[in-house]
Symmetry: C2
Subunit: 445 residues, 2 copies
């Protein structure tokens, strides 16, 4: 009966991510009591071996550890403090509270303050958003970004380790809020590359390429991103099934990024471009659909734009346009993410290590990330494998021009090209001499 020696865990929020995380804990032998407002998921959780509760308070009663994995700060505030039968008043003294939801830094800091104000400063709060998708949630191999007091992290570490890959548990300096800031910077890559995956494959489709073959080619090229790889099967499904990550989820994270960035006076042109496309899609009633369905924003124009003709004729030439589109977008998203991380005061080497190995990963980030970090740290002479901005820009421009001929929107590609153009204007060096990584100056003069 070795399993009975493991501590009881309360788990609030059994959505796509939370369900996987909680059932993984069950598999690891923890007695887990789950709560969710949606009844059917509780039934499913019992089948998976969990116990269930009908209120947050009942779930946490006598549990020394509580994981909260609801979708938004509003939901967290409700289940923890302000809703019916909230968790916090029922939590045992000195228990740990792991907030795994993606929330604004300001929210988790306010939660810490509220706990103190309500006389529950004893609770060991841990700010620990996750990344990696539902598959890694269920495998217990997530990337987790952890901020909190030493005492809290020490007490909760075993649980963080159960949920994460051994090499992907990041203890972020800065206490409560630092984990959320790290996740936020990572989500810049998600916000841009989720739409980017649809933009690339939608463009491929409108060029007349087989999107499956084009996608596979892109994954072997500088266009590769984790999101392209993971969204590709669902983009190819006629009904974008299964719904693994609803559009509203990434939109929520995207709005956290842009609203936090405004507090800092920090520009997020790429993330904002994605956000506007997400608003368009939500406004069309697609909010509950998988975000891979955003490919519709691009494919719907086929046959509706009148007589058009492109220049690219061979499959090779067309595929190259798609690769160059995504390469340019991914360079800019990597730069926007790392520049924002610098702005909010994170350790860039740690951010890069996290992002490369989490959902934000891409070939551009992997290849140029180390030099981007050096450039952002003030090392102007950082090498970058000889890649010049002009090469990226020329390839991107060819893609944007072909899209223009065919009347295909390329929201991100067009925004990235204009940013590069502004960056070149403001760089005193000769255009041909400008390194790819020096585009970072646009966000961080």
């Amino acid at each position: 009966m070795a399993q009975n020696t493991k501590p009881e865990i309360a788990f609030i929020g059994l959505g796509a991510m939370g369900f996987g995380m909680a059932t993984n804990l069950v598999k690891q032998g923890y007695p887990v009591t789950g709560f969710d407002i949606w009844g059917p998921t509780l039934d499913k959780f019992r089948v998976a071996g969990g116990a269930t509760a009908t209120t947050p308070a009942a779930a946490v009663k006598d549990k020394d550890h509580c994981v909260c994995m609801v979708a938004t700060a509003q939901q967290a505030q409700a289940v923890l403090l302000d809703g019916p039968d909230p968790a916090v008043p029922a939590m045992p003294q000195n228990s740990t509270l792991l907030l795994c939801s993606t929330v604004p830094c300001a929210y988790v800091q306010s939660l810490e303050k509220q706990l103190a104000e309500r006389g529950r400063g004893d609770i060991l709060l841990i700010d620990c958003p996750v990344s990696g998708g539902a598959g890694r949630a269920a495998d217990g191999t997530l990337s987790i970004m952890v901020g909190g007091s030493d005492a809290a992290v020490a007490k909760g570490r075993f649980l963080l380790q159960e949920m994460s890959d051994a090499s992907k548990l990041y203890i972020v300096a800065g206490g409560i809020g630092a984990g959320s800031n790290m996740k936020m910077c990572h989500q810049v890559l998600a916000a841009v590359q989720i739409l980017g995956a649809s933009e690339g494959m939608g463009f491929a489709s409108r060029l007349g390429l087989d999107p499956r073959a084009a996608g596979e080619r892109c994954l072997q090229s500088k266009a590769r991103s984790w999101f392209l790889e993971h969204r590709l099967p669902r983009m190819l499904h006629p009904e974008f099934q299964p719904v693994a990550s609803a559009l509203t989820i990434i939109l929520k994270d995207t709005s956290i990024i842009t609203s936090e960035a405004r507090r800092y006076g920090f520009p997020t042109p790429l993330t904002s471009t994605a956000e506007q496309a997400y608003f368009s899609a939500v406004g069309r009633g697609w909010g509950a659909d998988d975000d891979a369905s955003l490919i519709r924003l691009y494919t719907e124009g086929a046959g509706k734009v009148g007589q058009v003709a492109g220049l690219a004729e061979t499959e090779e030439a067309k595929t190259s346009l798609v690769v160059n589109l995504l390469r340019g977008i991914n360079l800019c998203s990597a730069t926007e993410a790392l520049s924002f991380a610098k702005r909010v005061g994170l350790d860039l080497d740690q951010v890069l290590d996290l992002c490369v190995n989490a959902a934000g990963g891409s070939t551009m980030l992997q290849e140029l990330g180390p030099d981007l970090v050096k450039a952002l740290q003030g090392d102007a002479g950082a090498p970058n494998g000889g890649l010049k901005l002009q090469e990226i820009a020329t390839g991107l421009q060819e893609a944007v021009e072909e899209a223009q001929r065919l009347k295909i929107p390329v929201y991100l590609g067009s925004a990235a090209l204009n940013l590069i153009s502004i960056g070149v204007l403001h760089n005193p060096a000769k255009a041909d001499d400008i390194t790819a990584t020096s585009i970072a100056r646009l966000w961080t003069p």
Copy 2:
């Protein structure tokens, strides 16, 4: 029979603009022979007192003056040179050819070259695109931007005068291509402010304002633009009637701007944002609809975005958000237009005078244009009525944040806010000291 003393005119292209222009010439007593590929318009033109021809060649035969007002460079090339029974070979020696279509500078320059190569260097070509809409076309009070040799302009001037308002005939230095460049820079204002009108009124509608009242308030404010005034009635029509200017028309001009700008390595972030929205709308099958119908991109989300709540409660507060949104967009569009005019080498005082008095006009352009021109001419200490960039940015940010709360796309507002944010980052002055017009540095460091 005084009218018979006026010279015969051939008029090719009797669309929304061309029909008005040609019938105005008929009213002024000119014998006008029209040609169009669409039969019904020819019948209508005969009813209006014109003569008609069944081919371009037949229309121009024995006419000393030919006006060409087709929609695109491709159409011009067809009716003048490459299509069936083209006009040029049938034109009398030393006759004038007024190309009023909006075409790339490069096209009208290539047309001049083709005339010489085909042995018709005798034809007096005038590069003379127009602005002002169908109403002013029919009244003979258009704004016209004229490039060409002194001899050609001298011979064609009477006709240009018949079609234009006395104070709105601009002879642009630089010969063939200069008129088209001036029109292109003017169209930056059109490209942005046409979408801007829909963005402002769509935002108003989603805020719960009566769009008619909100529109009228905007027209009395710093949000006023010619396009808002002229699109407002059609935006309010349940079916966006009448179709006075199809979306495909402004999209064509928009693509001329962005593709010419790329040749110069000049960034057009606002125009490009509009272009992508236009591609989206064309891809939804709205290409033939009036461009005022773009308001649908914003209004369609009403009731489809889930539970949302904004902060603005009073009509006053909501209207102020709409005004501040459009004020920010119009500042940036004015700056993008004038900066591009500087880049292509135009006389900025002339460009400003044209734009303020043509369809591109807006209160922001009128109030800040003179100081923007001075700033672009290198007069760093140019006054600007004390308007600070921070004031524009704060108002714009409040609008963008409310739109975010309500999940309403504000493509242009969001792009403008990010541009201002980048501009502030790159300006060495303290944020509070930066003048509104110094945003020009972003396009012209």
